[in-house]
Amino acid sequence: MDTSDQKQIERRVFTSFFQAGFIEAFTGIFLLQLGLPALFSRSGFGDWESALLTLPIALILLIVVFVIRKFVIIPRLGHVKFLPERRRRLSKLVLVPVLTLIAGAVVGYIFSENASLRHTFVGQIPFALIPIIVFSAAAYFLDIKRLYVYGVIVGFTFPLGKYLETVIGSRNILPAIMLFTAFVFLGMAIVFLVASLRKHHEPEV
């Protein structure tokens, strides 16, 4: 077994701790936090009001996900302390929220200078790039390749929704697409969770 085989085994061990739907739940909650404010803002609420109104939902869901992971999933998977190289890479995950804030600030600046651009198809491209960049960074630091695909799916909801709004003529299509995709991811998370619970029983120690 050479170094590359060892790295493959180590990577397989690490990613086995992320097969119970945690990533999918997080992606679904991320999309919920995009779609719900968009829906509220189209119902007459301001952008900031909409985001604040829906924040408690996302927080509660995140807490539920973390509690399930900590008290149900991890006891079934076991405790591991990964090697320093892996821990160093994980510690750089803190860059992901930093990247999100920077990307959001840049997009916010672009639209503050060009407010009408936001309602065009082209104006959705900066919004689409944010999740692609953020999920790609998370995929790199977590070494979980499917996050690259999830980032593209999440990003794609922006131009797709705006295009369908233009074609169908309804302003609620974009949030509807985001919410639908969010529920698909949350559904996947539940399926993976159930599969994981059936595969890994509570250990009799």
Binding site: M1, V13, G78, H79, V80, F82, L83, P203, E204, V205
Partner: protein
């Protein structure tokens, strides 16, 4: 050429492999990764511990007991030595044309 027969067993090789790629792991982690039964895992861990390849630490996390295992320096060297020996054996070219 002698092979370390303590390492050269499917169950113990599996245990050593999954401990080699982490700093430490508990028994549940090894059970999940190796697919061994409790009894099989316990027996082989005991043999490796007696040889000084594995360090076993029993602790409590809250009220639940937890058994942590990690490779000792001797264990890591033994595993790497086994790897190199097997690589050398398997790299032999056929003397026949």
């Amino acid at each position: 050429m002698t092979i370390d027969r303590l390492v050269h067993s499917p169950a113990r090789l599996s245990i050593l492999t999954y401990l080699f790629v982490v700093e430490e792991g508990d028994a549940v982690y090894l059970l999940n990764q190796t697919g061994l039964t409790w009894g099989n895992l316990s027996a082989n861990v005991t043999r490796l511990q007696e040889a000084g390849y594995i360090e076993v630490v029993k602790e409590f996390k809250g009220k639940k007991p937890r058994t942590l295992l990690k490779l000792t320096h001797k264990g890591r060297k033994a595993f790497q030595g086994y790897q190199n020996k097997m690589k050398g054996l398997l790299d032999i070219k056929s003397p026949l044309p």
